[in-house]
Amino acid sequence: MATTTLEPRTATYRRSWVLDWLTTVDHKKIGILYIVNSFFFFFAAGILALLIRTELAVPGLQFVDADTYNQAFTMHGTIMLFLFIIPALSGFANYIVPLQLGAPDMAFPRINALSFWLLPLGGLLIFSGYLFGGAAAEGWTGYAPLTDDQFAPGVGTDLWIIGLTLVGTASILGAVNFIATIFKMRAPGMTLFRMPIFVWTVLVTAVLILLATPVLAAGLIALFIDRNYGGSFFDPTVGGNPILWQHIFWFFGHPEVYIVILPAMGVVSEILPVFSRKPLFGYKAFVFATIAIGLLSFSVWAHHMFTTGAVFLPFFSFMTALIGIPTGIKMFNWLGTLWRGKLLLTTAMLFAIGFLSMFLIGGISGVMLASPPIDFHVQDTYFVVAHLHYVFFGGSVFGVFAATYYWFPKMFGRKLNEPLGKVHFWIHFIGFNLAFFPMHQLGLSGMPRRISDYSPDAGWTILNMVSTVGAFMIAVSIIPFLINVIATFINGEPAGDDPWEGNTLEWATTSPPPPYNFDRLPPIHSERPLFFLTHGHGHAAERPDDLEEEGGHKPGDVERRDDDLV
């Protein structure tokens, strides 16, 4: 058994810790940078959310004026989506995907670093609006003509445009990196259909980013030209078309929401099998469903525009309803994974199961919104706010926390404390539902979104108060989480290579892995190479995938890779 021993660092060559992290091109460090950076933005945008909820708790403007409120929800949405959720999931992908592929790093390590560093830069630019007369205040969707210089004269909106363009560029470069890595750097024996599901979701997400984000860039640049060079793209007073902005934005915006959710679905698909001690039910169906969702996501954008009177309703309603089918297939496959499993309810597993429940609700409200007549009533109300928070928060953010509890041991060599994690989960879960479930009712009874205040006669006060309490509960739940992280860093329980009896290759190396990731790889014959290693080829209950599905390849054929697409 050949092992490589690293010579200890000699005393004459010591690299500054700060410089190391600033200049690293190691995907593991970059992944951690992504995650840490995104949590900073999570807290910032979360404080904005608390501001919003505090103001809305009772009628009347008690704390802020309307303009400050409008900046708050604009920044909240923009930061949460572009600087928290997507980068956090990107960070986990960055760390884990090369490991799960058995690769030593990403395909383009230096571009990987560039992709990261553009993020804090873009984020700071977006926030810097506050220093220059006010941040952007037109909603994260930035509808023209409201974002035109005539109605949004400050430089805050320009900074928002530039910052977002940088963040988008970072995303696109990252997508190139992930696709190239996944196609070109898999370990011998790992055919595409032996890749972990998380890698599949990252692959489809990367394709979506690659194809959708540039359209946003085009739109943002067009808006910048309108604002600063007298352009006529969206300004109706000089022949432009406000609806064009909505088309361009949502052509990006809808794939964007799948970019947000798919990696979280991948995380859940990793965690459920491990803590059920069974494989993911219907791996191939799941892969095809993911691809179907990716394809369909480009055909539904105008369901955000039903009330404009400018879209062909039947087509977009149909395609939107259609996308519910592959999503349902995934849900059932997850349930099939739990069925007859032997479930261990670790914190990671709780967040994964919580994801299933919350995403179910978000998915249901989404199908309701696919119906134009129903949408006519609830569009631009708190019903939509409820829906988006159930899928973004109950879905993706739960996924981020699940990933944190699951992969923290691999990244830092120590397990987060389980009882404290459960405290975090339950306060978080209850707070989340308190905060967002009432919003369904608020929207149905007619409370529009993006309003800084409402009438005491509207009958919306009690539900708003409940929602605010829930929001503060979510904030409180972060405390045990932070204590857990800090305490674990100081004195946590050592994790070992494979604390969870995992299935995939990241658990086949040390925690944390050495810089080059692997000393040696186990043989790869299925999507659960480590499971094979632990439980053996001849286990009575196990059907090795390759014998069944690939027509009689023998286990010794590890070099064959007959699905080289490029």
Binding site: I179, G189, P214, Y229, S232, F233, G239, R520, V566
Partner: protein
């Protein structure tokens, strides 16, 4: 139970860089990047088509400005198309190991590219309308301007290739950068054909 050899090895580093079999990884990277650029131009084209379809008045340069100079644009098209050919000749040359020809063809391609840019700038100076002159002006300058920016980017790439060629860094077995830049250059050419057809021919 374990019938496989213990201690699987990684593919050697060179194999990873070249992706084992098939397209070299760097070239795949360029192809993917080009895909994103196609979508970026797609967005810009969408604004042009939408503007064209929803504008009620006549479509073209505003009152008092010159008509579009199709002859000049046609000449620029010919220059850019020719430069794609010369670029490809260069690629074929280095695949044969002919660094001398690579130098020549890259140099010619670069000159043609610069000519295109100068011609475009000259066209701009003669047109008599600007980006702020109505929907046509805005979409015209945005579409042609961003294309020109990409030609400039390609020219930078060509310059780097030329410099590296002069330093003898390419061989028949090792010239991924040339392939990548040529792919980008062909893309830039194809986009121009689309821009030219849409703005000058289709109207």
């Amino acid at each position: 139970m374990q019938a496989h050899p213990a201690g699987e090895e990684h593919a050697p580093a060179a194999a990873i860089q070249h992706g084992g079999s098939g397209m070299p990884t760097a070239l795949l990277g360029m192809l993917l990047f080009i895909a994103s650029e196609v979508m970026f131009f797609g967005g810009l084209f969408a604004t042009y088509f939408n503007a064209r379809a929803t504008t009620s008045g006549p479509w073209g340069p505003p009152e008092g400005a010159h008509e579009l100079d199709i002859a000049l644009a046609g000449a620029l098209t010919a220059i850019l198309v020719a430069s794609s050919f010369t670029m490809q000749f260069g690629v074929w040359a280095i695949r044969r190991g002919d660094t001398g020809k690579l130098k020549m063809w890259t140099g010619i391609t670069l000159i043609l590219g610069v000519l295109f840019l100068l011609g475009q700038l000259y066209d701009y100076s003669q047109l008599g309308f600007g980006i702020a002159d109505g929907v046509f002006g805005t979409t015209f300058y945005t579409l042609t301007g961003f294309h020109g920016a990409h030609v400039f980017g390609g020219a930078v790439g060509l310059t780097i290739i030329l410099a590296r060629t002069l330093r003898g860094q390419f061989s028949a077995r090792n010239h991924v950068a040339v392939e990548a830049v040529s792919m980008y250059w062909h893309f830039v050419d194809v986009v121009w054909i689309a821009v030219f057809s849409t703005i000058y021919l289709l109207r």
